[in-house]
């Protein structure tokens, strides 16, 4: 019985705080994305134009976002049934966009205006560990250029 009460408390804490954090994060992402709109990112392997010398530097950004209790519970349930784990979709979306934004921020700090060959790497910090923290890390990196496109 006590286990059930603890479970319920954890679930509601996770749900309330998780939802608030997620909404706030998405708002901030959307706002910053328009701020960094001027830095162009491409997944192509070569610079936009190859005439003349350009500055080139590696830029990257990473973020670790943890899963809230509610999401983990829902995902565990979903694991029994199979299908789309909607609880984790928004988590990964947030992490990826945040990492890209941080990469763009680094490029701006270095005075670069274009990033090519953008690569994303996703790692779950707690691969295969049952009693460990559940979190996802996304690292975005690419070559920042000062390009006169």
């Amino acid at each position: 019985m006590y286990d059930l009460i603890i479970l319920f408390v954890l679930l509601s804490l996770g749900y309330v705080f998780g939802q608030i954090a997620e909404k706030r994060h998405f708002r901030s992402i959307i706002k910053r994305e328009s701020e960094y709109q001027s830095i162009l990112t491409f997944a192509k392997r070569f610079p936009l134009n190859n005439d003349g010398e350009q500055r080139a530097e590696l830029v990257g950004g990473n973020v670790v976002i943890s899963v809230d209790y509610f999401k983990r519970f829902v995902a565990a349930l979903r694991n029994l049934v199979g299908g789309r784990v909607t609880a984790y979709e928004s988590l990964l979306e947030r992490a990826r966009r945040e990492a890209l934004l941080r990469m763009k921020a680094e490029a701006r700090k270095k005075g670069l205006n274009t990033i090519v060959n953008v690569k994303l790497e996703t790692a779950s910090i707690t691969k295969g560990n049952k009693n460990q923290v559940g979190a996802v890390e996304v690292y975005a990196y690419g070559t920042g250029l000062l390009s006169n496109h």
């Binding site: 749900y15 979709e89 496109h149």
Partner: protein, 311 residues
């Protein structure tokens, strides 16, 4: 060549479904499925367990009792141990001879009564009843694996006539006849395995739950349906054996009077309420001949033999 980054609309990579709705669907779906599987399993096991040969049941009871009793030759104490009940002192040297003789005498009498009742109940061929008399004040009687029936002195004190005692014994015999102990134990075992599988802790806990199957005996409880079935069978046995149903409700009335309903040991607690059982039996009595004016033979309560009464 023109290069630009356009703004991508929101909500393509993220489902718009409300998380709580999703959660409730999942919770209901999963728990529904688990309950359905358990129900199917419950009835399938109940059906299959009835076909387990009685010899196998006896062997199972012996192995359980042996695992609790080092010497392995004392089935009575082994089973009591497995059920988590206090054992009896069988060390004959430490007890005075007269007492030992009394216990033997009572056990013989109860065994004899049980045999007669088993005959009246038409107990099928391989099934045998072994009666154990326990000299403890607990108002209790139960049947367990292998046709072992336990009768406590407390119960004998609670009934007023042999008819009342016979009703209880016949009730326990009916449990054995309908294979209730093995059905209940198999169900507990099956559900335990499934639950440990579902909770996902997997290998380790599964093996421990299998190894600890003996402990399930402690939680061995018959369903109310099984109790009612045995009540009716016992009543019919009584009619056949004595020619009338007098005294059938003796124990239950005693329990109601003593207000003992809640202080009963766990094994009796899963029984239907005594008051309900009295009413059901009385209803049954109206449809059969219990009116003594029809009886062409002795129609009265048979008294308990003198030596059964404590002090």
């Amino acid at each position: 060549m023109e290069y630009q980054n356009s703004k991508i609309p929101e909500g393509i990579n993220v489902s718009s479904e409300h998380p709580l709705k999703n959660f409730i669907y999942l919770l209901l779906g999963v728990s529904g499925a688990i309950i359905a599987v358990l129900l199917v399993l419950f009835y399938t096991i109940g059906f299959i367990a009835k076909w387990v040969p009685f010899e196998a049941e006896v062997k199972w009871a012996e192995s359980i009792s042996a695992s609790f009793n080092e010497s392995g030759d004392d089935t009575q104490n082994g089973l009591l141990d497995a059920l988590g009940l206090p054992t009896t002192d069988k060390n004959l040297d430490g007890l005075d001879e007269q007492y030992t003789l009394r216990v033997q005498k009572i056990t013989l009498y109860l065994q004899d009564l049980a045999n007669k009742l088993a005959l009246a109940q038409e107990l099928p061929e391989p099934i045998t009843i072994t009666v154990h008399y326990i000299d403890q004040p607990l108002v209790n009687a139960f049947a367990t694996l292998g046709g072992h029936v336990f009768i406590y002195q407390g119960l004998i004190d609670a009934v007023e006539s042999e008819n009342g005692l016979a009703m209880v014994i016949a009730h326990e015999i009916a449990h054995v006849k309908n294979r209730h102990p093995i059905v209940a134990l198999s169900r507990g075992l099956g559900l335990g395995v499934i639950l440990s599988l579902v909770t996902g802790v997997g290998g380790d806990s599964l093996s421990t739950s299998l190894a600890g199957h003996v402990n399930l005996l402690t939680s061995l409880a018959f369903s109310r349906g099984q109790e009612t079935e045995s009540d009716i069978e016992a009543y019919n046995t009584l009619l056949k054996y004595y020619g009338h149903g007098l005294g059938a409700t003796e124990l239950f009335s005693q329990l109601v009077k003593a207000g003992q309903e809640t202080s009963l040991p766990e094994i009796l607690n899963s029984h239907p309420l005594s008051q309900k059982r009295i009413e059901r039996l009385e209803k049954l009595g109206q449809s059969t001949i219990t009116d003594c004016s029809y009886a062409s033979f002795n129609c009265s309560l048979t008294p308990l033999p003198e030596f059964l009464l404590n002090d």
